[in-house]
Subunit: 304 residues, 4 copies
Amino acid sequence: MKSIEVKVTKPKVDVSRPKIWLRNEFLRVGLAESLCTYVMMAFGLGSVAQVVTGQGVFGQYISINLGFGLGVAMGVHVGGKVSGAHMNAAVSFTMCVFGQLAWKMLPLYVCAQLLGTFLASGTVYAVYYEAIHHYSGGNLTVTGERATAGIFATYPAPYLSLTGGFLDQVFGTAMLLLCLMALSDQRNTPPAAGTQPLIVGFLVMLIGISFGSNSGYAINPTRDIGARLFTAIAGWGTDVFRAGNGWWWVPIVAPLIGGVLGGGVYKALVELLHPPVSAQGEGPLEEEFVLQEKEQSICSNKCV
Amino acid sequence: MKSIEVKVTKPKVDVSRPKIWLRNEFLRVGLAESLCTYVMMAFGLGSVAQVVTGQGVFGQYISINLGFGLGVAMGVHVGGKVSGAHMNAAVSFTMCVFGQLAWKMLPLYVCAQLLGTFLASGTVYAVYYEAIHHYSGGNLTVTGERATAGIFATYPAPYLSLTGGFLDQVFGTAMLLLCLMALSDQRNTPPAAGTQPLIVGFLVMLIGISFGSNSGYAINPTRDIGARLFTAIAGWGTDVFRAGNGWWWVPIVAPLIGGVLGGGVYKALVELLHPPVSAQGEGPLEEEFVLQEKEQSICSNKCV
Amino acid sequence: MKSIEVKVTKPKVDVSRPKIWLRNEFLRVGLAESLCTYVMMAFGLGSVAQVVTGQGVFGQYISINLGFGLGVAMGVHVGGKVSGAHMNAAVSFTMCVFGQLAWKMLPLYVCAQLLGTFLASGTVYAVYYEAIHHYSGGNLTVTGERATAGIFATYPAPYLSLTGGFLDQVFGTAMLLLCLMALSDQRNTPPAAGTQPLIVGFLVMLIGISFGSNSGYAINPTRDIGARLFTAIAGWGTDVFRAGNGWWWVPIVAPLIGGVLGGGVYKALVELLHPPVSAQGEGPLEEEFVLQEKEQSICSNKCV
Amino acid sequence: MKSIEVKVTKPKVDVSRPKIWLRNEFLRVGLAESLCTYVMMAFGLGSVAQVVTGQGVFGQYISINLGFGLGVAMGVHVGGKVSGAHMNAAVSFTMCVFGQLAWKMLPLYVCAQLLGTFLASGTVYAVYYEAIHHYSGGNLTVTGERATAGIFATYPAPYLSLTGGFLDQVFGTAMLLLCLMALSDQRNTPPAAGTQPLIVGFLVMLIGISFGSNSGYAINPTRDIGARLFTAIAGWGTDVFRAGNGWWWVPIVAPLIGGVLGGGVYKALVELLHPPVSAQGEGPLEEEFVLQEKEQSICSNKCV
């Protein structure tokens, strides 16, 4: 019998333990949420900057999907256990609506996400400063052949109406929250412990692959307005708010509606309908169908 | 006996426990099967719509493979533990044939899958309405340079005969079920617990990469006819049934044959030949070959 | 206290237990090895056929890398626990040399791999029969603009000499076995239990991404000669042996040398140098360097 | 206390136990670090050589990102438990600065990494010798249309100033170490045990997707100077040091600064702020926010 004792492992772990403990939980959560949003946005915006300024040589649209997708995965690894790594006001808002986050925390999350996005936008602009100026010839424009504002905030396709764009953002965010709720439903088929960051990243990559062409899949109010504000200040001017018939407010409002919609659909059709846990906490009380037994072994997320 | 503290985790889990329990198992399974099919099809069809209307700028064929592949992975996360997330009548039918699903459940699964597919087709058409009309110039055609019916249902390549297409669909579905049976065979080398959704998604992506060019790898009766019916109603008309020499029935019949064929081949050549479980439930009774011992450590899916 | 008892899970597992047990271990292993090789080759060759006949519309070179990579992953899932899913004579040969496979098993593995490869080649030709004839105009040629023999067996690039190709195949196979030995070294950093099939697949994909352009990364004697024999019989004729200055023997001989070389290098530089297991079987006796303690927690593949 | 039978597994594992034990820990670590660096660089440089000499037919920029990313993953599998598989002097240096590696080990790691890189450069040149000479027409040039020096070492884009390139390398390496610190922080959301090699590989792939176009993301002093020295000797001459306004020293100096910067930011904003471990070693003492409870179940990396 090999026994793993806390005594054996703890001291080893304690070697890399923190020496100080921040008592202010708000600051602790805020810093983590800012940092993971920063990481996600730096990788995401960096991939767009590389594809746009690289003119096809250094990546294609799929690179942007991978950039934001794996960027989200790294963000969750950076902030996950501390703040939950929402990195998206629509996620925080939906969690508040469904009682998974205290409303008093919402302003903190939104501010932390805005801060992280704004700083990431500044960093990416600095790192790609020469590339952007070389590509655009020095003219920072929002529309036109060599427009570069799209590296930071999202803009709708020429054919898209505000109504169509609003629906696009509502639906994209609904799919995000619907799947996020499923991924965190321990009674269903969640990812293996420790693989959630990657799977959540693949989800965001998937949304970009399936619903990215209409308006650049912001599906995230803080991500979009934070980057847009930066461009307004950094030299692209107020056109960033005028472009696309005043598109700027759509990625703020639509995702909040879509998130609650998608999360609610999953909870109403699946999560709330799970049978009660049996005494032994062994999942469904008894199975009427052969398939269920099969599923038990196929879909169980237990390690035994 | 392996024992894990439950007092600590149980109450925590119960916080997010369902408040109500739907007694009607049929409705519960049907809703989950519809929702996961909806998720899979929305992502899958969305990726085709993006690639077709994006004219090469917003993705290529590999994006469609990823869209359907990761869409399947998300679908399994959404419905896995409740309905098994077949999302495919060929899978349900094969499971019935091999006694892993009660025949009385088949109609429920087929109806749920048709409903989910139909609703997803409608949603994708709504989200890409302006893009499709901008791309096609307003003419919803099944064939021709700007045809858009292929965004929803599958159509054979110009060079393909009905016989060739039938073989293509039988074989593609056979590979799907052959591998699915292997992935759920606990005596073999199944994916790590909690990673099955991703691996099943990669399997569907792989089929699209290897057997997608002949006729668009429907390998799924409900997925294909559900989307085809939508297009027939939504404005593409009865051409969706006439195109490809009346191709429409092939993705319905061929996958049912292929699924049973592929699943049967795996069971006959591998699953049914596993040695009996030894008393200690420790896998093969005793190994004659050194390799086996190696394999034990290489391929074991146990956590110890 | 929640306790998972073997008694609870065993009966559930037994529901899907095999009813019969094949006593002939040789046949059991041979059938599994043939089937997993068939699966790997069907997906792999299918992806090449799709890319070649699709003329750029249905995938690019990366699709072929994914096709063979994920094809290998599925092959390991299909045959892993039964035969070890070598699917490659160079792997079987190297395991014999290092005593991980009994020499008496080698002929069985080689024959099973040849059978699986030959049948897969035939299946892919049947499924892509119309596509290949449409693409080649009916002329099955080994060289020239519309050559299709390269869908099945490998051929060297025009600039490549036999010496250069021999080195290419030795090195590619050496990298394969070097990494495979590392992936199965339980004293090092093996993949998580149940994820080995995917990681082995990624390894093959990686070799195709890094060492595929010189001569098509056969790195597998049975895979190459099996498919070549099929094409010789199926209509491409004896040119398949003459092409590339009689290239056909290189993918047979070079991988056998490379496999032993690569596997030996890993064993000599890492595996044989591991410190002895301490009494508690707790890894290295004692660590002299801080880094080791860190690595323990970073790289441990234990679930605790 | 969680207990797992060991009598059953130990003897099985001992079958593949090392026969001899190298007492010289320095040599053991050095050999492993050299070999894993060799593996990473062989795959990475091989993918660049394939893309460059393949002229678009055998891969695109994303193939290079995959080549280095999965190459890193394989490198960690090869050296992880023995040396930690830094494969990068900036990683070793940062670990020394933060006390996770003894300073006396730094020279060993740097030499081992240089040796592995130099040998890998030579191997890749040998394997692609005919391809490189066929592509370049025999002229080994550092700049110009058919330049091939970029296959081995990194060079800045024409528009990039030394200052801009310095910032690019500082930031890229900062993102690498920031995320690496998060991935190894057991109090946060680390990858599942046994999946770290893949996730670290995805991180490097992500940096190439998001910050690769400015100067080829060396983010690694030993990787860059080792390959540059090889090209200087192998025939490209001293131009490899003159090119890009004497770019060669930037990938040596900037990553050392960036690594400490990024690692420090993570430790300062997250790792050092973790609350103390409670008596039961159950993570945060008590949670004030609902979200935390949710996160517990969403982000826990425990197998139970």
